[in-house]
């Protein structure tokens, strides 16, 4: 799936990837790839600035740890993040229903 198609939906996808539990940046990207059966596979490096923005917005919180001698930042959903994820789900359902209805093939009445 092309990155442009994700415009406006990336925040919801990242929040959904973190719903099951805290993850570090690379694991967020991997989780996103797995939950979409490989259809959404973003360049990993581009996930980090989006995570930083979500953190500044208070939707996720980050914490540092040391793993294998490397400093690692892990992110977890905040209460505000869970609420925002619920909102993203609702608005996506509404949007998807509207587009599905609009694109549904119709049988036009025959003209004589």
């Amino acid at each position: 799936m092309r990155a442009e198609a994700l415009k406006g939906h990336l925040d919801g996808l990242l929040l959904a990837a973190l719903e099951a539990g805290p993850l570090h940046g690379y694991a967020v990207k991997e989780a996103l790839r797995e939950i979409t059966d490989g259809r959404i596979d973003l360049p990993t490096g581009t996930v980090y600035p989006a995570l930083h923005r979500l953190e500044r917005a208070g939707l996720i919180s980050g914490s540092w740890s040391v793993v294998g001698g490397r400093r690692r930042r892990t992110y977890a959903l905040t209460a505000a993040g869970r609420t925002a994820l619920g909102g993203e789900r609702d608005s996506w359902q509404e949007f998807a229903s509207a587009v599905t209805a609009a694109l549904r093939a119709r049988s036009w009445p025959a003209t004589s």
Binding site: T44, Y48, R53, R72, R73
Partner: protein
């Protein structure tokens, strides 16, 4: 697990462009990607190239950081509110007959030049795609210039006699809001 020279070279390119805190995360992520590819491909050179491909090239990553930069957002806000501020102050100065104020021509020209310079700097920041550090410095300089201009305009306007009270109150409020919002956004942005 040891790294790979290609991974180290890629991180060196990114380190020249991005803040240190982001680099720690990127280094961890790229090493993680390399280890995952190595477990799958069993060839260090092929795995390093696959990891870099999976991670995105330096330009793509830098562009993503620039796009999400708090400095770029600050520049965008200052730039988009600029015309409104100009209109509010323009109306106020016309109502207050600014041409009668005892301000030397050189000061007026310098004020205008700094204002145009700040606007052009912000425009450059908003249009930049691959210069994260320059974005940060340029926005900081332009925001500081605008705060200085706002403060000096407030001081001048309040020290001059004027019958245009309402336009002046609106203009003073607008400038105070812009100064406060910019100063509040700066500490958070300085950490990025």
């Amino acid at each position: 697990m040891a790294g790979h020279e290609l991974i180290a070279a890629q991180l060196a390119i990114l380190a020249d462009r991005l803040p240190a805190q982001a680099m720690e995360e990127l280094a961890d992520g790229l090493q993680e990607a390399y280890e995952a590819q190595l477990a799958k491909l069993h060839d260090p050179d092929v795995a390093a190239r696959a990891a870099i491909d999976e991670f995105g090239d330096a330009d793509t990553i830098t562009a993503a950081f620039v796009r999400e930069s708090p400095w770029r957002r600050m520049a965008l806000k200052l730039l988009t509110t600029g015309p409104l501020m100009g209109a509010v102050w323009g109306l106020t100065l016309l109502s207050a007959q600014v041409w009668d104020w005892p301000i030397p021509l050189a000061v007026r020209i310098a004020y205008g030049a700094v204002l145009v310079g700040a606007a052009l700097t912000l425009l450059t920041v908003v249009r930049a795609k691959h210069a994260y550090r320059r974005t940060r410095i340029a926005t900081l300089v332009a925001a500081t210039a605008l705060i200085t201009l706002d403060t000096s305009m407030l001081a001048a306007a309040m020290s001059m006699p004027s019958s245009a009270v309402w336009p002046l109150l609106v203009a003073i409020s607008a400038s105070l809001i812009r100064i406060t919002a910019t100063l509040r956004a700066m500490p958070a942005a300085l950490t990025r």
